[in-house]
């Protein structure tokens, strides 16, 4: 997921969008499963709202029934549109899964496209249980259902930030050592990534991974990992 524009080796679903500012946003389109789960949550919320409204409004007689019918109309047809446009591109269900809807150029979704993608749900649902939408999502790299294709929208994961300080994944202080030979930026990045992730790996796995570089580190297991960490500190420029 290195943000160097998707070369022939890109095997993930990252979708780069070039912005007017000359950089690429790396968008991560979301697949069918989280979206289906988000839809289920929304369904429960909608059902809950209708039941709650039904209990309150049934006390109001015919006028209450009128409001209930209107509420059903709004919740049935406009719930996703209102949330997507007014609430940062996400219904509560999507929010729960860290998803949101964007135009294909990475900008927040507007009224027209949101209306289109949500009305065409009707067709995506056909013949049953979003079968058409699922086939459509599996037929393109951006997981767009038919409504998304027509509207030019996509559902992406929110960009995750690893921590708040800006200097992601602080390395534990320790020995600093220069690598034995000049490393290309890609190679430096591999070592940095390993070092930043090694806190989340158990020591055996970290050692196993580090052993892959044993020709370079001239050691095995934990020793090799320790060496890589020392190089990473040097690459990053951490003060001892």
């Amino acid at each position: 997921m290195v943000a160097q524009s998707g070369g022939p080796t890109a095997i993930d679903t990252r979708y780069p969008v070039e912005t007017p500012d000359g950089i690429e946003l790396a968008l991560h389109p979301a697949g069918p499963v989280p979206r289906a789960l988000a839809w289920l949550i929304d369904l429960l919320i909608r059902g809950g709202i209708m039941i709650a409204l039904g209990m309150v409004l049934s006390l109001l007689g015919a006028a209450g029934m009128a409001l209930l019918v209107l509420a059903w109309f709004v919740i049935n047809w406009w719930y996703p549109v209102l949330f997507e446009v007014l609430s940062g591109g996400a219904t509560p269900g999507k929010k729960a899964f860290g998803l949101r809807v964007l135009h294909e150029d990475g900008t927040p979704v507007g009224w027209g496209p949101s209306v289109v993608r949500n009305l065409l749900r009707q067709v995506d649902f056909l013949p049953a249980a979003y079968a058409a939408g699922l086939v459509s999502m599996l037929c393109n790299r951006r997981f767009q259902r038919l409504g998304d294709l027509a509207a030019g929208t996509l559902v992406v994961y929110n960009a995750t930030s690893t921590n708040a300080s800006g200097d992601g994944g602080d390395l534990a202080p320790g020995r600093v050592e220069a690598p034995p030979l000049p490393l290309s930026p890609d190679e430096q990045q591999v070592i940095l990534s390993f070092a930043e992730r090694s806190g989340k790996l158990n020591p055996e796995r970290a050692g196993e991974l580090a052993s892959l570089l044993s020709p370079l580190t001239a050691s095995h297991g934990a020793d090799s990992a320790e060496r890589l960490l020392a190089w990473a500190r040097w690459i990053k420029g951490t003060a001892t």
């Binding site: 019918v69 047809w77 065409l120 995750t160 690893t162 921590n163 994944g169 890609d186 990045q189 940095l192």
Partner: protein, 323 residues
């Protein structure tokens, strides 16, 4: 420059950017950002580009990307809001767009009104044909509905309920008619035909059963808005279907997107018409006004709707090419 130095030298600026971002995200969606926010954002873009090209760590790059994406979402908001365009839309854009689609309007009108006319002719000569379209129960129900004196047996509260019901039901039908257009236009066509057959069978049957006065005086008013609106919802769907079938010089996907953009504007007009129609149907059509008045008002409404689509905004439509 080593990554640690790079981060340290920018830390202050990034913190300031984060504070601005947080205050923007907690404020109104369309609130204007602080004056130097765009500049801050661009410098952050620059930092990101530098971080990537120097091979700084993934965690840092991801962090910067997340910030850039959040700033991008705030800066590049969709431009137009509906509010400023409503007057222009109804005074000329909507009727002009309908006129521009006159071929599809003619086709969809044929699909919808054709069965109605045909059933009038056919049920006039063979009245029992209505039972091939509607079940005897439904026929009896409709007969009972229009056998009552108009305005009797319904209070104001029922009117309000029916208003809500008409909104839900009719706009629902219109939206489905539109969505069906994605199936190469077939869905829209089938829904139009189906509704034409149902309405035609009921109307013809009631007319020849001698209930014509209570039926026609009820439907003529709101029908002026409701029936054309359903036809236009069909046009919106058919536009998508047609662009899929005959994309011209565009790719099918690009043609579909163009059609969807146009269709959704038609739909705004359709929904406004159906809201008005629901109001008329609930509060006027069901009222106890004399039959002659209802016919008169109904005729005027039909004339007004036809004149609106033929004439409104003829001179203004060149002012903008319909955004």
């Amino acid at each position: 420059m080593k990554q640690a130095q790079f981060v340290a030298s920018r830390q202050q600026r990034w913190e300031r950017y984060q504070r601005q971002l947080a205050s923007l995200q907690s404020g109104r969606r369309t609130a204007a950002p602080p004056a130097d926010f765009p500049a801050q954002y661009r410098r952050l873009c620059n930092d990101l580009a530098v971080a990537i090209s120097r091979g700084y760590s993934l965690a840092l790059v991801q962090q910067l990307q997340a910030w850039v994406q959040a700033g991008h979402a705030r800066l590049y908001q969709p431009r137009a809001t509906l509010r400023g365009n409503i007057a222009a839309f109804f005074s000329h854009r909507f009727p002009a767009q309908v006129r521009a689609e006159w071929r599809l309007v003619a086709l969809c009108s044929l699909l919808f009104f054709g069965p109605i006319l045909w059933l009038f002719w056919y049920i006039g000569s063979t009245p029992e044909f209505v039972y091939r379209v509607l079940s005897p129960d439904m026929v009896a129900q409709y007969e009972q509905m229009y056998a009552r004196e108009p305005g009797s047996g319904r209070g104001a509260e029922d009117d309000v309920f029916m208003f809500a019901f008409y909104i839900m039901n009719n706009i629902g039908v219109a939206l489905r008619t539109f969505a069906g257009g994605l199936l190469f236009g077939i869905g829209s066509g089938v829904i139009l035909l189906f509704n034409g057959v149902m309405i035609g069978a009921v109307a013809a049957h009631l007319t020849f059963e001698g209930l014509h006065e209570s039926f026609w005086s009820f439907v003529i008013g709101h029908g002026a808005l409701e029936l054309p609106a359903i036809v236009l919802a069909g046009v919106a769907g058919a536009r998508m279907g047609l662009n899929l079938l005959l994309p011209g010089r565009l790719s099918r996907l690009a043609a579909l997107r163009q059609a969807a953009r146009q269709a959704v504007r038609l739909l705004y007009g359709v929904m406004a018409m159906l809201l008005l129609a629901a109001g008329l149907e609930a509060f006027w059509s069901a009222s106890a006004a004399p039959v002659a008045v209802k016919y008169g008002v109904g005729a005027l409404l039909w004339l007004a709707v036809i004149a609106y689509f033929l004439l409104a905004g003829r001179h203004a439509s060149h002012l903008d090419d319909g955004r």
